[in-house]
Symmetry: C2
């Protein structure tokens, strides 16, 4: 099946996969954690730094607020995790926030959540890759010197990888994620040991710098506002928490319980890492500024535009492990890798959400098909394009991109939690069992608090970040919302237009007779086959039709027709301008005019070829004619294909394309409960045919 | 028919034209001359200057060779005109050089000529527009300061105009061409009068400059080579002479005689203008250099890169009429306009030649259709793209572009004339009438001399211009040649593959039965219509097929099926991955496997929509399925269209597209001798059906 000539294609499009391609194994918790949590865990690589950056506006003295902000983030994280543990139990289907909002708050809320999530996926790619590049850059200077270029290259690589339909394995996610988590924990423990037991003074590379406060001695409302802004930035640590609630079907049984446990583990890990890094940053005196070129001073002089501010995690690692040490490099690499994996989760999530939205007819219906290559490709290219745009516009600067990030996350958090409150209210109204009721009331309380807190954060984020870029994210959400609403409206309108009436209607009067016309250009195998099939169809009348484009050819055709004794009458249409389409259309229209109750069946012999350039050389007239005929009422158009030898190539290609494995398969879990249906398609299962 | 919303489209694509759209009037000589001769006549705007430019390499003293070079060009012009007068009489069909070469020298020679002509059309656009911009620039400084931009803008304008299918009128060509010719003649006569009768000393703006010879005191072989190079450049005056031989069918009767007369008039005009301009340039002491910034000296100093060297025709006009005078501006404008018209002729010729080549299967067959919009559009866009590339690469510098120009022209001249000699030889062998024989022998002598001289010039051009850019033109010719050969090979291979065998063969065994399958997604008007049509077809078995993508929907479908009492069995295919294509393909393959002698007819209800974005929302699954089914042997695919209300828009659009008038109609003459067939298509003429 795979010839030598296929090699270049195979390199580009990926190897033909076997039919049992999803390889659906359910995930144990130890694998599910890295698969779903690479996004939230990786965000500790940039979130602590963002807090310090904002605080630096009020000068280094404001840094002492950072533990309090970390505490607020921890409280929020626990609240969100606790809330989503309720979601996971109540909605084990994996529909996630979109399902919760739609079910409980209605279609518009659901669509808002969906728009927010779509924007969020774009931001995940842009922020994670930019941050990954910055972390990689702390070990490899070249990368940070060509930030935008490197970020775009990584986006392109991820895109190609996902378009190829790379087969995910849990291990792929597990190793870098666990290396990253382990690295951060070793750093925290070793840092604590050095500081407390050995009494070492660990100093970050920026410890000697001074921060020129943009607003010295900030107090009162302004200070509160600044602290809220710092908190908003710290909330970046929460992005991706909802991922597990979308992935419940992929868990081993008991699915919901395992998912809830994984969620808790994830929350605990994230919080510990976040706080550990903040504390180490304070201890090692990391100094960061929003605008380091001007606001960071060394011996009283600004550092200038040549200075590259490394991420807080890398500065801390340098202080704890030593610059260029083995552990420092490993941690930098693992951080970058886990951030790229986080970006990759968006590549899975975006088309997956698209397919759910398509099911509800907010997006083109073909996206509905699970693992449809074309649909996934479109989604992936759209995602990659939007992310690239953002990366280029914002210069791959994670700090500036984060301003756009958190809005979408908290829109969906808040609406989802409000939805959950409604969910419990509804269930409480029906439930009589007191134990269950108590449980529900407890869940409702958790979700209500979650809704309150995330809603509050949303307001804070909007207030503090709107002018810093959050408006861009809101605009993106509006565009998604409007587009999806328009698509849904279109589908609804069409569905109304084509609704079958009860009883017979004018439109559906069954035509009384059928008049078949076979289009003939020359006598060759394709036309002979078309004639044979047409005869077999036993329509009421049958004729062959040719257009006289070249009188000599037409004469030859007619002679051969008679010589071969073909028992179908041949009609010749004149065409002074050597056109094909117009005379045929006019003729068919005329047939319809003469006997309006007859339907006309136009049978077109077609070549099936294997390469795109061969398409340019064949069937163009047939295609155009078909296109025009479809607009003519009362006409049906039949293609009788003739497979040329070269069509084999396309067949192999098509088969391979169909055996393609959609990215994100691991996260999605098996297609249906009936396991046997995921095996190699054999005899299709047939339902008993119903008789009318 | 034309609604208000159509206005923007109408502006862009052009107004819907009536069906008798070619407006075929035969051309009288006075109109035919400007229509066909704008290209050769306009070349006198740049050819004399090119001669001076090359001579200037040997210093101003070499200028005294220019009358001799002009004389050589005149001799060549008369030879070529005399030769083509023979072509016109011998081949009145308008096939031009391609036909002459193919008929007499074989397919490869014909294809070489065709490749040369295609390259030539590209060069005509590039050179004429660049030169037009330079002439316009002599009156409007802005234009010459933004040469490349202006040239590209003109190309874009011409392209849009031709894509719109502008209706040509002879007048459009006649006015500027006659104004240009009249202007040049007035200039020559007025110049002669001022110089000879009034004794005025007319001085060109560059009369006071000195030329720094790159090679002072050139002699012997080097001088001869330089003179030959100058002559080659002067040969640019001959480009476009063959146009009339392509246009014989457009002439009034007696076609050949009128065409021959027009050819002679054109030659006479061109030669007089060419010589007049050379003489005036010598009289007014025009000084030009290939590299004016360095080699033109004013008071001993180079003029520097800011200096813009105006074309010789504009310098002479300035000397004769005075800078900024009315006649000077009119002549500059008319020169630019006639050059743009010359470029426009390539826009007509390129797709026209394409259609002839398509007839011989060297190009995709659909180009064969006369005035097929799509085919013309592709040709026009290809031409414009190539010309734009050349203009940008060569900085819209007509002098540099001309180096590429003349190769193609002389390749086709030479091959055509050799072909004509063969033509006469063949006819002489058969002809017995002595008077006719004498005539033929005379014609053969003319063509033989033409072949000799143009062949000599071709060698000279190749020798003197190869490194200056002629290799680019040759490369272009090779690319066209190779592509067309490959296309022809492909068509030949396919035609062999599909040739109908005499007598029955395995391949054509008529299938014994037909099994029809109607694809159903839901019950609505389109599916009900498809079912009704399918029943009417009376195939041997008929069933409805649905894919169980969503169990709830499938259940509802089955219930409604029974409720409505549809008397066709409904089969349900399972699809665990919500795929549509694969289960259907597998099912059809299985049907074929079970009874290999049966054919399967798959009937697909299809929506017909009006806008491209609606296509994205509908039929995608159907389209993909159709694409795959065509690769399955023994299957025929029938579309039963259902026209949605929005399809009206597309219908109107399609009709308008068909009523489009192809550019170049005037030059091409009527389609067929039978005049009545060009009228509004009424009842199509039917030939008596032949019975086998």
């Amino acid at each position: 099946m795979s010839k030598l000539t296929d090699v270049p294609k195979r390199i580009l499009i990926g190897r033909a996969l076997r039919s049992d391609r999803l390889g659906e194994t359910l995930l144990p918790k130890r694998i599910a954690l890295p698969v779903f949590a690479s996004d939230p865990l990786s965000s500790v690589a940039y979130a602590p730094g963002e807090v310090l950056l904002v605080l630096s506006i009020a000068g280094v003295s404001a840094y002492h607020f950072s533990p309090w902000i970390a505490l607020a983030v921890v409280v929020l994280m626990f609240t969100v995790v606790a809330s989503y543990r309720q979601n996971v139990h109540a909605y084990p289907s994996g529909g996630g926030d979109y399902e919760v909002a739609t079910t409980n708050l209605g279609a518009k809320a659901g669509l808002t959540v969906a728009s927010a999530l779509l924007v969020d996926y774009v931001m995940t790619v842009a922020v994670s890759i930019s941050s990954g590049i910055e972390n990689l850059g702390s070990a490899i200077p070249f990368v940070v010197e060509h930030k935008v270029l490197c970020a775009v290259v990584v986006i392109v690589l991820l895109t190609v990888m996902n378009l190829r339909g790379v087969r995910e394995s849990g291990t792929l996610f597990a190793i870098p994620t666990y290396v990253f988590v382990a690295g951060v924990f070793i750093m925290i423990i070793w840092g604590a040991f050095r500081g407390l037991a050995l009494g070492d003074t660990m100093r970050a590379p920026t410890a000697d710098y001074h921060i020129k406060a943009e607003h010295q001695g900030l107090a009162g409302f302004a200070l509160v506002f600044l602290l809220l802004r710092a908190f908003s930035s710290g909330c970046a640590a929460l992005t991706g928490v909802e991922a597990i609630s979308n992935g419940v079907p992929a868990f081993r049984k008991p699915k919901s319980k395992n998912a809830a446990t994984t969620l808790a583990m994830m929350g605990l890990l994230a919080v510990t890492m976040f706080c550990g890094i903040i504390v180490l940053a304070m201890t090692t005196k990391v100094h960061m500024a929003e605008n380091p070129a001007a606001d960071l001073l060394h011996n009283g002089n600004p550092l200038g535009s040549g200075y590259v501010q490394n991420p807080v995690i890398s500065q801390v690692a340098e202080a704890v492990f030593g610059k260029g040490s083995f552990l420092f490099v490993v941690l930098a690499a693992a951080t970058a890798l886990v951030l790229f994996l986080a970006a990759n989760t968006a590549y899975n999530g975006f088309p997956l959400l698209g397919s759910i939205l398509a099911q509800d007819r907010y997006l083109p219906r073909q996206l509905h098909t699970r693992g449809d290559r074309l649909a996934f490709s479109n989604g992936i290219v759209l995602l990659a394009g939007a992310a690239t745009l953002l990366v280029v516009v914002y210069g791959a600067d994670s700090t500036r991109l984060i301003q756009l990030y958190i809005v979408g996350v908290f829109v969906s958090f808040t609406l989802s939690q409000i939805g959950m409150v409604r969910h419990w209210n509804r269930h409480l109204a029906a439930e009589r069992d007191q134990a269950k009721r108590r449980h529900m009331i407890r869940s409702r309380a958790i979700n209500a608090f979650g809704a309150f807190l995330t809603g509050l954060v949303l307001v804070v984020v909007l207030l503090t970040k709107f002018t810093h870029g959050a408006w861009v994210a809101l605009l993106g959400m509006c565009i998604f919302f409007a587009t999806m609403t328009a698509i849904r409206k279109h589908y609804d309108r069409v569905s109304e237009e084509i609704a079958a009436p009860e009883g017979p209607s004018d439109d559906l009067v069954r035509p009384s007779r059928i008049h078949s016309v076979v289009l003939i250009s020359k006598i060759h195998r394709p036309t002979l086959r078309a004639l044979a099939y047409a005869k077999l169809m036993r329509s009421d009348t049958l004729e062959a039709l040719t257009v006289n484009v070249d009188p000599a050819e037409t004469k030859a055709l007619r002679a051969e027709w008679e010589r071969r004794g073909i028992d179908v009458p041949l009609k010749v249409l004149d065409s002074p301008y050597r056109e094909v389409t117009r005379p045929v259309i006019e003729y068919v229209k005329n047939l319809r005019k003469e006997s309006p109750r007859d339907a006309v069946s136009v049978i077109i012999p077609e070549y099936v070829v294997g390469h795109w350039y061969e398409h340019l050389l064949h069937n163009q007239s047939a295609l155009r004619l078909k296109g025009r005929l479809l607009f003519t009422p009362g006409v049906m158009v039949t293609s009788v294909p003739y497979q040329l030898a070269s069509s084999e190539a396309a067949k192999v290609r098509a088969r391979r394309r169909q055996d393609w494995s959609a990215p994100g398969a691991v996260r999605r879990g098996p297609a249906q409960v009936r396991k046997e249906s995921s095996k190699e398609p054999k005899e299709p299962k047939e339902s008993p045919a119903s008789k009318g």
